[in-house]
Amino acid sequence: MTILGWAQIALVLACVLLAAIPTGRFIARVAAGERTFLHPILGPVERAIYALAGVDPMRGQDWKGYALAMLAFSAAGFGSLYGLLRLQGVLPLNPQGFDGMPPYLAFNTAVSFVTNTNWQAYSGEVAASYLSQMAGLTVHNFVSAATGIALALALSRAFAAGKVSQLGNFWADLTRVTLYVLLPLSVVVGFAFVALGMPQTLGAYVEASTLEGAQQVIALGPVAFQVAIKHLGTNGGGFFGVNALHPFEGANALTTSLQIWCHQVIPFALCVTFGAMVGNRRQGWVLLSVMLGFVIAATAAIYAAEAAGNPLHLAAGVDAALGNMEGKDVRFGQALVALFTATTTGASCGAVNAMFDSFTPLGGMVPLFLIQLGEVLPGGVGSGLYGMLIFVLLAVFVAGLMVGRTPEFLGKKVQAREVKLAMLAVLVLPATILGFAAISMVLPAALSSLANQGPHGLTEMLYAYTSAAGNNGSAFGGLTADTPWLDTTLGIAMLLGRFAFVVPVMAIAGSLAAKVKVPEGTGTFPTHTPLFAGLLAGVILILGGLQFLPSLALGPLAEHFVMLAAKTF
């Protein structure tokens, strides 16, 4: 680790925080339906959408109405995307003449983009037409992100007022977030990426002669603007198979830094939004500080592990100064790779600018563990906030009793119904990840996908289900993902990770919204203090992480100690 490296990390994070504050306040205004500086241009568009769709933005929905609208929208999105991917061979904007996607892969891909996961069992440049990329995948990059944010806004409203039944209007939230938040940011960032050298073209791939005289096909496409929303919406699905490691998707340190900024700014901003919406800014800051603390700690852990390098390599005479550079690009360097990795896995983005499969065991364990902690650090756009609020409710419930009152958060009592729903939501990750991984580790059809033996093989499988259930979408690597078993089960894991989690969360929102808002007093459990931040971090580690420890012990931890003992597989 170097001072310069840490300076880069600090600079990027500082830019994130500086932008998160105004962005968060802006989102709060958008959520409230207030007028913003974008309304003169986009206001008519918004009204036109409502008129076309027959939506009355003023009509509130209760939690069931909101959740059903979200589920219906996602189901329709899945159906249309599945159809598009299957039929891309006969549809226009297909200069490379790709065939339609096979059914398993199309299912997996459609689920992946509808759930904001962007797990890619395909390689964009050899399997997806420009139409699929633009009208299918990019559209879902927008709306799946907007869906997540909308859900977070609905949950925030449940804390904001007392004795209400309505949580807002899903269609209005979806439209407003897309129009006023995601679209403008993407346009600006997209142009920035173009300026930084990212392609944005509908032209066919270019054939080039290499210096040795060989022929090479250089894949191109409408990259820049898709990459903008890919990061801003914490989607993470790369235009190219190797994601942000591809020179056209991550040209240099500046591009990679901007990408990190993009997939961090909205998740952090939503904490500010939450604080503004519930009328308690400090509460927003406490959530933000916990998230930031984990991001910094995870970055440090990856950075330290990777900079220290692999002792076996060092023993073989590799230059120790660089650390473990396998799977990494020198144009990013250790610091930005560590920060990118911690943020992309902490934020449910899933873009990668290095190959985790080549990390040291501990360096590779950090992204795995970050996802297992529930994708709340800071988590995906929206999903990070609502996931974090579930942990907050559990932390408040466990420790809140210790001040001698029925636990309450922001004046809302946390009682049996909330605890039950929160536990239902919390159960989804371990059941899905560990369940599928355990079956796969004894199933020959699944094991044939593994490239590695020993604990590393286990990590690869564990990571795939973790990434899917956490709706992260990053690939550890070393796994042939496009098989019927993996396409199907990973697809199911993604569906469970998104919807089996969200429905209880919305039920909690409904239950909390209906409650009286108890006024705060000195007897109230304080949730806006550093002490609570520490408590919340502890609860995330213990309730969110402890159940994965045995599997980690068998995977990366075992690999680490085995490596120290100079044993290979």
């Binding site: 007392g162 419930f397 466990v398 420790a399 809140g400 009793l401 210790m402 001040v403 001698g404 009152r405 029925t406 946390v414 009682q415 049996a416 605890v419 039950k420 536990m423 239902l424 919390v426 371990p430 560990l434 369940g435 991984a437 355990a438 796969s440 580790m441 004894v442 604990p455 093989g457 286990l458 564990l462 009286v516 108890v518 006024p519 007093g521 000195t522 007897g523 109230t524 459990f525 304080p526 002490l531 408590l535 502890g538 213990i542 309730l543 402890l546 159940q547 994965f548 420890l549 045995p550 599997s551 012990a553 068998l554 931890l557 075992a558 100690f561 085995v562 120290l564 003992a565 044993k567």
Partner: protein, 692 residues
């Protein structure tokens, strides 16, 4: 100063801890609890407790495996050891509950004795108390009218419809001084099992057989009718959820671990599962609830449900009657205010003489004030003196001594009676006294007005500090009084309450409670009169006085057998203590998992990856010893924490922030550290005795 009664109670925690400490080590209770603990192993009853039920199922499974190994000639010692300690874990949990129940049982026994077969004198005609027929108390129906005479036990709960008698209620309240019960008014309720010691009463029965106050008390202290409280249910769900999560984590290990070598044996996985699921709090949860109720019972307060105790912890607003709760029951002389031309001493001497024959506390306080402030000693009552007693008509009292008439009384009455001209100076003084919350009495000697005595409500010593403590706890105190606003405001300021309701009618109280509840606040109040019944019923915690009316006792959800409304404050503290104890042990239990992982994980995987020995930070002797030590610790910690569960976590009225900081440090951080030490110690002992 006259002595101050009733005394201010000490904090509940100190008071109850002493009582429970001795009871916990009572050998008879422990002996009986052991038997009960075994009986409670019945899976049908244990299924109510998901964590311990899971433990029992797993214990049975490991037992079967151990037996199978023994029969087939395999290695069975380790499995048998694990099975034994898993069973002990279950047993310790049921034992904790049994001990908690046993503590109430002694009280129940003494209550039962009071309920023993008594014969009632059923009146044939309610208005004729000469004609009655004997009837077993248990056969009395609602609405029956019975005669109870001196020496009779009152057969059932009822309302006095005729007569006045002194009743010994020691059987219920433990207080042996008899109390007066009479028809009409606020002293008309009688309790079955209490004894008439003089005179007679005609009582209309108001409780159906089996549902008398005594019956309810018995089932309450025995914990027979115990239902889970809302917070307990929520906590149970959390614990069940965690059990499922760890069940998944452990069960999936079979698949995950088979990738590299043999998966761990079922015995080892069982040990891992049981140490990870929150058995500590799962085993102690119901004991904590029972002990909380028991603490209240020891404090002589009967709650009709655990829900009420829990609600007490949540209370944000306390409605307290002024008289008897905030102030001493009677007014006391606080100052002499002479009119111009009269010295204070002159006034004091006249006041003393006017009060010589006045035996009321007010009258005596005048003598005390004159002596303390002006050195005026009270002379003996002159032989020829004639005492003029106070009457409601004249509102004046006094003394005629040596031909001089000394009078004191309500200002206007006295002015009228002596026919003196009202003095502007006196009017001003009177006005000022009233404004500051006092009551003025005028004093006259031979028809000449000398000045006024200021009588003041004396705020109980120490009550102001209690209110400050309550405020730190986040509880608003509201004084309820029939006084006018001026007086009420002055006393409220002196006592340090947050708000007051002056000239309060029962409707005012009810409205205040409803308004506070609409804002999401929980309200507690104490009351005894029939007037209080609607407010008692509306309040989240309604503490009725045992001396109060039947209506009040039924409307409230708690009855204070000592009839001391100040105890409302302690009731709140007991409620908070109950919740804190649950939270603290939950935190402790969950925090324990960290160390258990470090003990067991390296032990179970060391066969596949010997290098994982590096995670064995406690340097435990062997895998078997590590696993067994963790299981033993997990079982013993339940027993070790039983006294804490029964006594409750110490509660001091500080703000929530300070409370959280302290409890997190003790039970959170302590919960992480303690098992590291405990497991290491057990491992050393196992090693020392050559077991491993």
């Amino acid at each position: 100063m006259p002595d101050i009664s009733p005394p201010i109670h000490q904090g509940a925690s100190t008071r109850t801890s002493r009582a429970s400490g001795s009871a916990f080590f009572d050998r008879a209770i422990l002996g009986r609890a052991t038997g009960d603990a075994l009986r409670k192993l019945n899976p049908l009853s244990l299924v109510r407790n998901p964590v311990i039920f899971t433990t029992e199922v797993v214990s049975a499974l490991v037992t079967v495996l151990a037996i199978r190994s023994a029969v087939t000639g395999g290695e069975w010692g380790f499995a048998a050891g694990i099975a034994a300690w898993l069973w002990l874990t279950v047993l310790f949990a049921t034992f904790a509950e049994a001990v908690a129940e046993g503590r109430g049982r002694a009280r129940a026994e003494s209550l039962r004795r009071a309920r023993t077969e008594s014969r009632a004198k059923l009146l044939v005609r309610p208005d004729d108390r000469t004609l009655w027929q004997p009837r077993a108390a248990t056969d009395l129906k609602l609405g029956d009218v019975v005669l109870v005479e001196a020496g009779d036990l009152i057969p059932s709960d009822g309302e006095v419809v005729q007569g006045i008698a002194s009743v010994n209620e020691a059987a219920v309240t433990g207080e042996s001084a008899p109390v007066i019960r009479e028809s009409g008014g606020d002293r008309s309720a009688v309790t079955g099992g209490t004894m008439v010691v003089s005179d007679w009463l005609v009582v209309r029965i108001t409780a159906a057989p089996g549902s008398t106050f005594l019956d309810r008390m018995i089932s309450l202290v025995e914990g027979a009718s115990r239902q889970k409280t809302p917070n307990e249910i929520a906590l149970d769900i959390l614990l069940a959820g965690m059990t499922i999560i760890f069940l998944i984590a452990v069960a999936t290990l079979v698949g995950l671990a088979s990738w590299n070598g043999q998966p761990p044996s079922v015995t080892v996985l069982a040990a891992l599962l049981i140490t990870l699921i929150p058995t500590t709090i799962g085993g102690l949860l119901s004991a904590i609830g029972i002990a909380g109720m028991d603490r209240l019972v020891r404090f002589n307060v009967m709650a009709t449900s655990g829900r009420a105790v829990e609600a007490a912890g949540d209370v944000d607003v306390l409605l307290l009657d002024k008289t008897g709760t905030i102030t001493l029951g009677n007014r006391q002389a606080a100052a002499f205010v002479p009119v111009p031309g009269v010295s204070e001493r002159e006034l004091a001497e006249a006041a003393v003489l006017a009060s010589l024959g006045d035996e009321t506390p007010e009258g005596r306080s005048i003598l005390t004030l004159a002596r303390d402030r002006h050195g005026v000693t009270s002379p003996a009552l002159p032989a020829d003196a004639k005492v003029v007693p106070f009457t409601a008509q004249t509102r004046i009292s006094g003394l005629d001594a040596e031909g001089v008439r000394y009078r004191k009384g309500a200002v206007e009455s006295l002015i009228k009676a002596v026919g003196a001209d009202p003095l502007p100076a006196l009017s001003q003084a009177v006005e000022r006294i009233a404004r500051s919350g006092g009551t003025p009495l005028a004093v006259a000697k031979e028809g000449r007005l000398l000045g006024a005595i200021e009588l003041k409500d004396i705020v109980k010593p120490g009550i102001r500090e209690r209110f400050t403590a309550l405020r730190t706890m986040g509880i608003r105190t509201v004084m309820v009084t029939g006084d006018n606003r001026l007086t009420a405001a002055a006393i409220a300021a002196e006592a340090g309450v947050d708000d007051f309701i002056a000239e309060a009618t029962p409707e005012d109280k009810l409205r205040y409670i409803r308004d506070a509840q609409a804002e999401g606040r929980l309200v507690a109040m104490a009351g005894d009169g029939t007037n209080d019944a609607p407010a008692l019923a509306q309040a989240d915690v309604g503490l009725a006085m045992q001396t109060g009316t039947q209506a009040a006792r039924e409307a409230g959800n708690m009855v204070d057998l000592d009839s001391d409304p100040t105890k409302l404050i302690e009731v709140v503290e007991i409620g908070k203590q109950l919740l804190i104890t649950r939270g603290a042990l939950t935190t402790f239990s969950i925090a324990n998992d960290v160390a258990k992982y470090f003990a067991i994980l390296p032990a179970i995987f060391v066969a596949s990856y010997p290098e994982l020995q590096a995670l064995n930070v406690m340097r435990l002797t062997s895998p078997e010893s590590a696993i067994l030590s963790a299981v033993i610790f997990n079982a013993l910690i339940i027993i070790a924490l039983v006294p804490l569960a029964l006594r409750g976590v110490a509660y001091t009225p500080v703000g929530a922030a300070a409370l959280l900081r302290r409890n997190l440090l003790i039970y959170g951080l302590g919960g992480i550290v303690a098992p590291f030490l405990g497991i290491k110690l057990i491992d050393l002992l196992l090693n020392l005795f050559g077991i491993y």
